[in-house]
Chain length 250, copies 2
Amino acid sequence: MVAEQLDAPDPETLVGEAKAAFRDGAMLTVQARCEVEYEGRTSGHLGPGDRILVAKPDGTFLVHQPTGHKPVNWMPGGGTVSARTSDGDVVLLARRTNPTERVEARILEAYGVTRFDATDGATYEESGTEAEMHEYIEANPGVLEEGLRIVEHERESKYGFIDFFARDEAGTPVVVEVKRIQATLNHFDQLQRYVSLYEETNDEVRGILVAPSASERVKRALRDNDLEFVGLSEFETDAKGATEAKLTDF
Amino acid sequence: MVAEQLDAPDPETLVGEAKAAFRDGAMLTVQARCEVEYEGRTSGHLGPGDRILVAKPDGTFLVHQPTGHKPVNWMPGGGTVSARTSDGDVVLLARRTNPTERVEARILEAYGVTRFDATDGATYEESGTEAEMHEYIEANPGVLEEGLRIVEHERESKYGFIDFFARDEAGTPVVVEVKRIQATLNHFDQLQRYVSLYEETNDEVRGILVAPSASERVKRALRDNDLEFVGLSEFETDAKGATEAKLTDF
DNA sequence: GGTTGCATGTCGCAC
DNA sequence: GTGCGACGTGCAACC
């Protein structure tokens, strides 16, 4: 049996089920009224309410309220989750070190529990990432500027990585920072840092921020610092496929 | 009944249960073997495998693999989740606009489903945030430097917000950037941006980055740019309470 | 609704 | 392990 469900388990049953799931590497889901404590990088408390608790075999622990994308409390993988009874309640405790932190959920009433012996060998395949945008620019530097030549990709400098180091038609060095999304002030900062560094040891250098768009404030910051913005909203690693996908997407 | 569980529901039953849950504002959890497609800011595909699916009444939709803190696919709240059958399979579709995107989970086999009529009025109370660190500094500017006076908190400037604008004992203006965690190059960037701006119109200005710690690279970047680092690892809004919490912790 | 910056960010990759 | 930057970042505050 892949999944086993128990309705309104009593504390002893729930602890037994949880311990067995943790031992066997199964995923555990609990619907319950509970209180939650977090102690670690910050500390916090969540009073009684109905939530879904999820424990994964890698030590991940999630507390989900009825609304919101993010779990209200959580523990990333790498640690351990344990179950015990305390004052008649079931307590699920997730902890890890580095940093040292803990999430403790006191279950006041369990409405349901599911043990799920999940096997999942698939990995998520994604396209449209910044890495692909880099590939596109490397293959088509002319979309940024006529005559631009890419000299180096992911060049390491004293203060960090430059996305592209290039030269324009006149041979002037160009530092290029690429963003997949609308450019922010932090992205301007990054470019400025790289350019400033280069200017310490070299006479002339241009800096270009490449992104689909940028706010006026970012554009002004660039302008005021003699940096440039290039809007690059469309890029295709496989133009035909991407277009077709759009046409059929309703 | 707060939670209702069905074991290995057939497609029609699952769709009915899902539709009822969405209609009634209940949370839905499904343990299933499924495939997932995402189309939106990027696009991606996840082949068949066992996952936990969670749909919330606010339109949140989560796909959790057996490992990892983050859902492999998701939809933040604000959109809608719907259920239908397609080629004999149940398909859960979550979509929203701004940005326009969709997650579609094709359920190849459902092992269990839980409908959860959750009520949760509690809100999470947290302490130890950067906001509290700001309060502490504002009340105790001397911990940064003897004689420092805070002039303004959250001062807006042309390029962004300065955490603190202050003056030292000699009256020299000081721009202060505060980080709750170990300082990174991006945090150095931020401070540098504010200081550079101020230098355009003023003669002398100091810049201080306040954080519990900083990497050597960050410290060097600060030094090279005549900026300063102040380590501030401990801060207490209520020293007694925090100390006691530590002593009794675990 | 757009912009800005925090976050218990998490995650992956390089050193 | 630490450092650094991307992320379908999400999220709230402020305008």
